[in-house]
């Protein structure tokens, strides 16, 4: 097994300006992503978990340069995306795609399925319409939809089927990387399993690399190879999936895991629960020191004044906490 790094993110920051008044004076910034570094190995899945407002989706969008990063670098297959011109970026775009959360909102209701899936083919390749139709049919059967339904409109499909259409569109150009932003959050439990199985099949078949953004810790454990836990724009802990779930080191990772309910009454009755007090602070005014210090059950004085540095405590297992190591 070669372990070639496909995406390498270093010290990525994305701040959204907060403006005030008619002159739109900049009065502050929402630090959505504040200094994040990670690698994604080709063919693997990196799970990105965290609560709403932790910056998971912003990372996904900045990675694809749908948002301009404020600072930091994103190296994709050896080339720095920030250096690319508009034309150069356009050449790379087909290689990185996205699957969105809401299958109702991400498909144009006035386009047929074949034109939705065919659109990237029109944009980036010069295919005859017959070749394109063949490719669309091939893609539809690849994602488990009936190719005869190519001329239907999105409203004729259920949520799970629509998510399959979104996936077919994402894989149309044979990408290397797919950013999956909560792809199953809007689906029912029995349909979630269908979509996750499909994504895993396609990964094996096409050698895809996934950035899987989710708040569902159980599903991330199932699908991911490595997992990054985010809180308020920073990565708190990053490790291989087994290490993270069996030996979580950061107090936030432990709290997050213990908050996720387990579908087993006996386990629910006996397991230790860490219930965090308070809410996630505003990313426009993050607390000094460790960002988690305001809710951390184990915080000491040092946590409130000094930002913890990222340390690798075991091979491939990094954590940002004063109390670890």
């Amino acid at each position: 097994m070669e372990s070639e790094v496909l995406v390498s993110v270093r010290d990525l920051k994305k701040h959204f300006p907060v403006t005030k008044g008619a002159l739109r004076r900049k009065v502050g910034a929402v630090r959505a992503v504040d200094g994040v570094s990670f690698d994604i190995v080709r063919g693997q899945t990196l799970g990105l978990v965290g609560e709403s407002g932790s910056g998971k989706s912003t990372i996904g969008r900045t990675l694809l340069r749908l948002e301009e990063p404020t600072d930091g670098t994103v190296v994709f297959d050896g080339g720095d995306l920030a250096d690319l011109s508009v034309g150069g970026l356009r050449k790379v775009r087909p290689r990185m795609q996205m699957v969105f959360q809401d299958p109702h909102a991400c498909l144009n209701p006035r386009m047929t399925v074949s034109s939705i899936i065919g659109e990237p083919l029109v944009e980036h390749l010069s295919m005859s319409s017959r070749e394109r139709n063949e490719r669309v049919e091939e893609l539809l059967s690849l994602v488990g939809l009936n190719p005869e339904h190519a001329n239907r409109y999105p409203h004729e499909f259920s949520g799970g089927q629509r998510q399959r259409i979104g996936i077919a569109r994402a894989i149309a150009l044979n990408p290397d990387l797919i950013v999956c932003d909560e792809p199953i959050a809007a689906l029912d439990v029995s349909i979630q399993a269908q979509v996750v199985n499909l994504m895993e099949e396609l990964q094996d078949l096409l050698g895809l690399t996934y950035l899987f953004i989710s708040h569902d810790l159980g599903m991330v454990r199932h699908i991911a190879d490595r997992v990054a836990v985010m809180y308020l724009g920073r990565i708190m802990e990053l490790a291989d999936v087994d290490a993270l779930y069996e030996n979580p080191l950061h107090p936030y990772t432990r709290a997050l895991q213990s908050s996720a309910p387990v579908p087993d009454p006996a386990a629910e009755a006996t397991r230790e629960k860490i219930v965090l007090v308070g809410d996630i602070p505003s990313p426009s005014a993050p607390p000094p020191g460790c960002v988690f210090s305001t809710r951390c059950p184990e915080a000491v004085d040092r946590c409130r004044t000094e930002v913890p540095v990222w340390r690798e405590v075991a091979p491939g297992h990094g954590v940002a906490c004063h109390l670890v190591g």
Binding site: E51, S158, A255, P261, D264, P265, E268, K273, D279
Partner: protein, 340 residues
């Protein structure tokens, strides 16, 4: 608390709700019957469109009519039928003896009225008293649901509070008149897991303190496991299984329940395929003439496609609507068994 020997607080029989739309009649709830025992926490699980919310809304006649129509059934609450009683009497019960919590606290709270006034509004309707007394009660309620510095929060507007705090306010409003039944419709679905954990702990605590019965509607099988005494599984507008929580998780009996539990990822499922339920949820525009799960069921046989099974007791504590269970395998006599 799983036995239902005493008279139930709420007994629903054969509830049927339809919506007459331009595309035809949607059969949202088809002959739902269940009991809610005093002080019991009942979890109602099912996928979107399975009729769980419409069932509970129908009980308090909160569905818009037209297009909605409660076609049949009764819901006996403390001796009276909620579905046929005078609307004035029903208003006394709504928000009084039966409290309601909705999924999205932002759309359920009035954005231009302070939190304190919204709690007091409920008191004004059901238990009018002097403003000072009601204010004191509102303060007490905010303390009860664990809102920090409640005095200041009384004057806050909903937008000044976080999602978790708003849901706490919703709970305070629902509890204002000491309800005997609290209906909670996906109350934690819009919240983050750490906030959800806070709300779940709060409800477990309140339920012990106040001794009310709770109907908790959710699609999250994890939440149900830790909170409820008994589980109702709904599919296609019908109850397919009604079982005590331990028995349900130990040995789900209806093929849909089995599929639902099996489709959850586990610690050991990495690298394996998740078990999934093939196919799509049913089209509710067809009246249920056969088992609505039959097209997706791995065990379906001829009868399943021809006749609709009814909810039948298969043991002292469990009911299932499935033709496979038609010849009940009850011998598990003492009633203390944990399924298989």
């Amino acid at each position: 608390m799983t036995t239902s020997t005493a008279t139930p607080v709420l007994r629903v029989t054969d509830l049927t709700t339809r919506f007459n739309t331009q595309d035809g009649t949607v059969h949202a709830v088809n002959g739902v019957s269940f009991d809610l025992a005093d002080g019991e926490v009942l979890g109602v699980v099912g996928e979107s469109g399975s009729g769980k919310s419409v069932t509970m809304m129908s009980l308090l006649r909160l569905i818009p009519t037209p297009p909605g129509e409660i076609a049949a059934g009764e819901a006996i609450f403390e001796g009276d039928d909620l579905l046929s009683m005078d609307l004035g009497d029903l208003r006394e019960i709504r928000g009084g003896k039966v409290g309601f919590i909705f999924q999205d606290p932002m759309t359920s709270l009035n954005p231009v009225v302070t939190v304190g006034d919204q709690i007091m509004e409920s008191l004004t309707v059901h238990q009018p008293a002097r403003r000072r007394e009601m204010r004191a009660r509102a303060l007490e309620l905010l303390q009860l649901v664990g809102i920090p510095s409640p005095e200041d929060r009384l004057r806050c507007y909903p937008h000044e509070l976080s999602g978790g705090m708003r849901q706490r306010v919703m709970i305070a409003i629902a509890l204002a008149c000491n309800p005997t039944v609290l209906v909670a419709d996906e109350p934690t679905t819009a919240l983050d897991v750490t906030i959800q954990a806070q709300i779940l702990e709060l409800v477990k605590d309140l339920r012990v303190k106040l001794g009310m019965a709770v109907i908790w509607i959710t699609h999250d099988l994890g939440v149900v496991a830790g909170l409820v005494d008994r589980v109702l599984v709904m599919y296609g507008g019908q109850i397919v299984e009604d079982a005590p929580v331990d028995e349900f998780y130990a040995a789900p009996r209806h093929p849909y329940s089995q599929g639902l539990l099996a489709s959850l990822p586990s610690a050991t499922s990495r690298g394996e395929k998740l078990v999934n339920i093939k196919g799509q949820p049913p089209d509710m525009r067809q009246p249920p003439a056969s088992c609505s799960f039959a097209p997706r069921c791995p065990h379906a046989f001829d009868r399943c496609h021809q006749e609709n099974p009814v909810l039948t007791a298969v043991s002292a504590t469990r009911k299932v609507s499935c033709w496979l269970d038609e010849v009940p395998t009850i011998p598990d006599t003492e009633g203390a068994g944990h399924g298989v």
